[in-house]
Amino acid sequence: MRKLVFLIMLMAGIFRLVGCWNRRELDQLAIVSGIAIDQAEEKDKIKVTAQIIKPGDIQITGESGGGGGGGGKPYLNVTNTGDTFFETLMRFTHFVDRRLYLPHNEVLIFGDKMARSGVHKCMDFFLRDAETRLTTWVVVAKGEAGEVLDAKAELEKIPAMNLSMLIDAYVATSEVIASNVNMFGQRLMSKTTAPIASLVEVEKTGEEKKARLVGTAVFRKDKLVGYLTLTETRGLLWVLNKVRSGIIVVQEPDGKGEVSLEILRAKCELTPGLKNDGTPYIMVKIKEEANLGEERGSANLMSMEAWTILEKHQAGVIRHEIESALAKARQLKADIFGFGEEIYKKYPAVWKKLEPHWDEIFPELEVKIAVEADLRRTGLTTRPAVPEAG
C-alpha cells in the first residue's frame, strides 16, 4: 500500500515537473513574421514594429489575387515604443488581443539610425530568449526599418516572408550576404571579427513600396559603419567560402562583347603566415569552376587559346572582387573576413601580442590572393548564334 502511494506521488511529480505547461491554442497566438527596430523620436527609446500574420485573411487574398492597399492585407503591422525590447514587446498586449509569438519570426530588421547607435542592446534578447530562433535573418534597412515591413510583396503574401525568401535566394548570384542571428551574434561577441548583415532598401514609386537587397551592412563592434556594394559583397563571400552559384561577366578574347560564366563551385582556403620580421600575412587561395553560360559576341571560343584567355579573365574578375571588398574593409577598419580568428587559430602566442592593436594592424595586413579558375563545359552548343564565318 505504501508502495502504491509512493508510486502515485512519483507519477504526480512527473505531471507537475513539466517546463512547457503553457497550453495555448493556435487561435490565441499572434504569429510574428518580422520585427523591425528603429530609433524612437525620444532619446534612448526604441520603436518596435512587429508584423503579425492574419491567418484568416490569407486564403481570401489568395482568391482575389493579391490584397494590396485596403483592409484585405493578410498581415498587420503594429508599432510600439519603449525602453527595452522585451518590455516593448510585452506591452503590445495593451492593444493586440493576442500574445506575440516569436518562433516563426523570419527577419529582424534594424533601421540604419538605430544600427549606427549600436544594436547590442536589442540583440541580447534574440540570443537569450527561448522563443526566438537563431536562424532569423538579420537585416539592416537604409532608412526606416518599419517601412520594409510595409513594402509590397508580389509572390509571397507577407512582406517579411518575402524578404526572407529574397535572402534565401542569395545563392543565385552570391551577391548578398545571408546573416542570421547565430552568425551575427557570434561575430558580435568576437573581439575582432566584424558583424555583417544584409542590406535592404525600400524603393518608392509613387504609393508603391518595394524592398530590394542592395548589399551588405558592415558593423564595427555593434555599430554600423558602412556598406558594401553587391560586387564587394561577392568579394567577401569568396573569402567566406559562401559562393554557391552566380554569374561572372568577362570580356571576350577579341574584346568584342562579353561572356557570362556560371559559377559551378568554389572553394576558399585561408592560410595565415608569418613573415621573417614577425608580421603576419594571409594567403587566400580560391579554387573555382564555371561553365560557359552565354556569349554576346560572335567569336568562336572553341580553341585552346580562347579558352585559356577566358579562364585568365575569370580569375582576374574574382581577384578584383576580392580586392575591392578588401579595400572597403580596410577603409572601414572592420575585419569582416575573420582574418584575426584565422591567425589566432594558427599562432595563438603571436595573436596575444597582435590582439590589442588589431584595429591598426588589419588595414595594413598583407593579403596574398591566388585564384585558380577553371572553365568546364560550353552548354548545349559550341558555336555562337551567328552564321559561320567562311
Binding site: 508502495k3 502504491l4 508510486l7 512527473i14 505531471f15 513539466v18 512547457c20 503553457n22 497550453r23 495555448r24 491554442e25 493556435l26 487561435d27 497566438l29 504569429i31 513574421s33 500574420i53 491567418p55 484568416g56 490569407i58 486564403q59 509569438y101 518562433p103 516563426h104 523570419e106 522563443e131 530562433r133 516572408m161
Partner: protein
C-alpha cells in the same frame, strides 16, 4: 499495482464461490444395464421430453429375433445414413444373422464387425457416455441382453460451406476460410499439412455447452512444454458455456489486464497452418471459424499471409508501412494536439499559417475537437459493423458528408482535424490484429498530449514500451524478437527475407531449428571443371 489489488479481490470472491459450488454435480456414472427395457426407460426419462428425440425400437434377424433400439436427435443426424446403413442391414438384410454368434462373443462387437456399415463406431459402456455422444449427433444402438451400446457416427447437419474469409482478405493466396463446423475446419487443416506428425487432440469444455475443442500442433516442431501448458490451461476451465473461441481466450491468456491480446486468432487455414509450422499450438473451437494460436508475438500482428506469397521486396516495404501505420494510428491525433497547443514552433511557417487559418473561429480547443472527432469515428465504425447490410451505404453518406464536410463548413471543426482523423482511421485498418488495443491507446495518447504536449506523448510511449517488453505469451516474450533481440528472427519481422534465406524457425518458438535446406538460392548450376 492496481492490477494486483483487483486480482486479489477477484481471486477471493471467486475462491469463496468456488468452494460453495464445488459439490459433485456429476452425471450418472452408472453403467448400462443388460435389460433393454430398463435402459430405454432411463433414456426416455432423461431425453424423452424433447421434440426432436427419436427412439426407434426394432428386431434384428429374420428367424431368430432379438430386440434392439436406436435413438438419436433428429436435427443432428443424416436420416438417410441411419436408414440405409444402420436400419437396412439390421432389419432387412439380417438373413445371415445368428443369435449364437452374437451371444458367443458376449459382446456387441459382432454387430459392429458384420452388420453396421458405418465408418465411425464406438462401443460404449456408461450411460453418460451414451448421452454425450447422442447429444453430439451420434445414433446410439442398444441391443437386448448386452450391457453396452454402439455409438454410430451419423452426424450430419446443415452447415455453411467453405467461403472466402470475411475478415482477412488477400489478393494472392487461397480463398478458403474456416467455418463453424469443427470437423470441416480440421479437414481444412489436414489438407494443408499432410504429415503423420500433425496431431489433433480433442477435449470438451463447458459444463452446459460441452463444446468440442481441439488442440492441434506439429509434433517434433512444437515445444512440448507449450502443448502441456495449453492442455493445463484449457483443463482448468470450469464454466457453463464456450460459445466462441473468445470465451477460451479470456480463460487462458497470460495478461488478462493488458490491452494487448496475447492469443492470436485467424479464420484462414493457411495462416493457422503456417503458425503451426513455426512451432505454435492451435486451438480449434467447435461453432466458430476463429481459430486461436499460441504463443502470440507482437510482431505477428504486422504480418499477413500474403507477405509470404508475394515477392520479398514489396512484402518488406509493406511491413514497414504497417509499422508506420501503427504509429500513425496511435499517435497522429495526439501529435496534432501537442503541436497545435504546445509546440507551434515545430510546425513549418507556411503550414502553421494554413492550420491557424483553419482553426480561426472554431469554438473548441484542439483537444476537445480531436476527442470529439475520434469518438464520432468510433461511433461510425461501430454503426457500420452492426448495421444491416442494405442500410450500410447510408452510414457512409452520413459519415462522410454530414460529419466530415458539414462540420468544417459550419465552422465547428478545423479542416486539418478531419484529415488527421481520417488518416488515423484508415491506418487503424492496416493492423487488424491490434485494432482494439490501438483504439484505446489512441485515446490515452490524445489525453496525455492535451495535458502535457509532446512530453506526455513520450511518457505514454515509454510506458507502452515497458509494458510490451514485460508481456509474455505461453512462456515466450511478447515483444520478441525486438526485445529480447533475436537477430535471425528479425529477418522475418523488420524485413521479409526470401524463403530460401529463412533457413531456421524462430528460436523462441521452436527448438527444432532447421526448416529449409541452406543454400537454396535459385541460380544456374555451376559447371564442374
Amino acid at each position: 499495482m492496481l492490477k494486483k489489488i483487483l486480482q486479489a479481490l477477484h481471486l477471493r470472491k471467486i475462491l469463496k464461490k468456488g468452494q460453495r459450488k464445488e459439490q459433485p454435480v456429476e452425471q450418472d456414472q452408472q453403467r448400462l444395464s443388460r435389460d433393454l427395457e430398463r435402459n430405454l426407460a432411463l433414456f426416455r426419462a432423461i431425453l424423452g421430453k424433447n421434440a426432436d428425440f427419436v427412439l426407434r425400437e426394432f428386431c434384428i434377424g429374420t428367424h431368430e429375433k432379438i430386440r434392439a433400439a436406436l435413438f438419436y436427435f433428429e436435427g443432428l443426424v443424416y436420416r438417410e445414413f441411419i436408414n440405409e446403413y444402420v436400419l437396412m442391414p439390421l432389419m432387412y438384410e439380417s438373413q445371415h444373422f445368428s443369435i449364437q454368434d452374437l451371444k458367443r462373443g458376449n459382446s456387441i462387437s459382432y454387430l459392429q464387425e458384420q452388420f453396421v456399415s458405418i465408418g465411425g463406431t464406438q462401443k460404449i459402456l456408461r450411460i453418460e457416455e451414451a448421452l454425450n455422444n447422442c447429444l453430439y449427433g451420434q445414433a446410439i444402438l442398444l441391443v437386448d441382453g448386452f450391457a453396452e451400446a454402439l455409438a454410430l457416427n451419423t452426424k450430419g447437419w446443415a452447415n455453411r460451406g467453405v467461403e472466402e474469409p470475411k475478415t482477412e482478405a488477400l489478393v494472392r493466396g487461397p480463398r478458403e476460410g474456416f467455418t463453424e463446423t469443427l470437423g470441416l475446419n480440421i479437414s481444412l487443416l489436414r489438407r494443408k499439412i499432410h504429415h503423420p506428425d500433425f496431431v489433433i487432440e480433442e477435449m470438451q469444455i463447458g459444463e452446459k455447452t460441452r463444446t468440442k475443442v481441439c488442440i492441434a500442433y506439429l509434433n517434433g516442431v512444437v515445444n512440448p512444454e507449450v502443448v502441456e501448458e495449453v492442455r493445463k490451461r484449457l483443463g482448468r476451465i470450469k464454466t457453463d458455456a464456450i460459445l466462441e473461441s473468445g470465451y477460451l481466450e479470456q480463460f487462458i491468456e497470460d495478461a488478462p489486464f493488458s490491452i494487448f491480446p496475447t492469443v492470436a486468432n485467424s479464420e484462414r487455414p493457411d495462416t493457422v497452418a503456417a503458425k503451426m509450422l513455426e512451432g505454435r499450438v492451435s486451438i480449434i473451437t467447435d461453432g466458430t471459424p476463429m481459430v486461436l494460436s499460441v504463443p502470440m508475438l507482437f510482431a505477428s500482428s504486422f504480418q499477413s499471409p500474403e507477405d509470404y506469397y508475394s515477392r520479398p521486396y514489396y512484402a518488406s516495404m509493406i511491413r514497414w508501412i504497417r509499422y508506420l501505420c501503427f504509429f500513425i494510428t496511435i499517435s497522429a491525433p495526439a501529435v496534432y494536439v501537442a503541436l497545435t497547443t504546445f509546440h507551434q514552433e515545430l510546425i513549418p511557417t507556411p503550414l502553421l499559417m494554413t492550420m491557424a487559418a483553419a482553426r480561426e473561429g472554431t469554438p473548441f480547443p484542439a483537444l476537445i475537437e480531436v476527442l470529439l472527432m475520434s469518438v464520432v469515428f468510433e461511433i461510425l465504425r461501430e454503426a457500420g459493423v452492426r448495421l444491416p447490410r442494405p442500410i450500410g451505404s447510408a452510414i457512409s453518406i452520413v459519415g462522410a458528408l454530414v460529419i466530415g464536410q458539414s462540420a468544417v463548413s459550419a465552422g465547428l471543426i478545423g479542416a486539418p482535424m478531419v484529415i488527421v482523423v481520417a488518416i488515423t482511421a484508415i491506418a487503424s485498418f492496416v493492423i487488424p490484429a491490434q485494432t482494439d488495443a490501438v483504439t484505446i491507446l489512441r485515446f490515452i495518447l490524445i489525453i496525455a498530449a492535451g495535458f502535457m504536449g509532446a512530453y506526455g506523448i513520450f511518457i505514454v510511449l515509454l510506458g507502452l514500451l515497458i509494458h510490451l517488453a514485460s508481456l509474455r505469451s505461453f512462456g515466450v516474450p511478447y515483444f520478441a524478437p525486438f526485445a529480447p533481440v533475436n537477430l535471425p528472427a528479425l529477418k522475418d519481422t523488420m524485413l521479409r527475407a526470401p524463403l530460401w534465406a529463412q533457413i531456421t524457425r524462430p528460436k523462441m518458438l521452436s527448438k527444432n531449428r532447421q526448416r529449409t535446406k541452406a543454400d537454396l538460392l535459385p541460380r544456374p548450376e555451376r559447371k564442374q571443371p
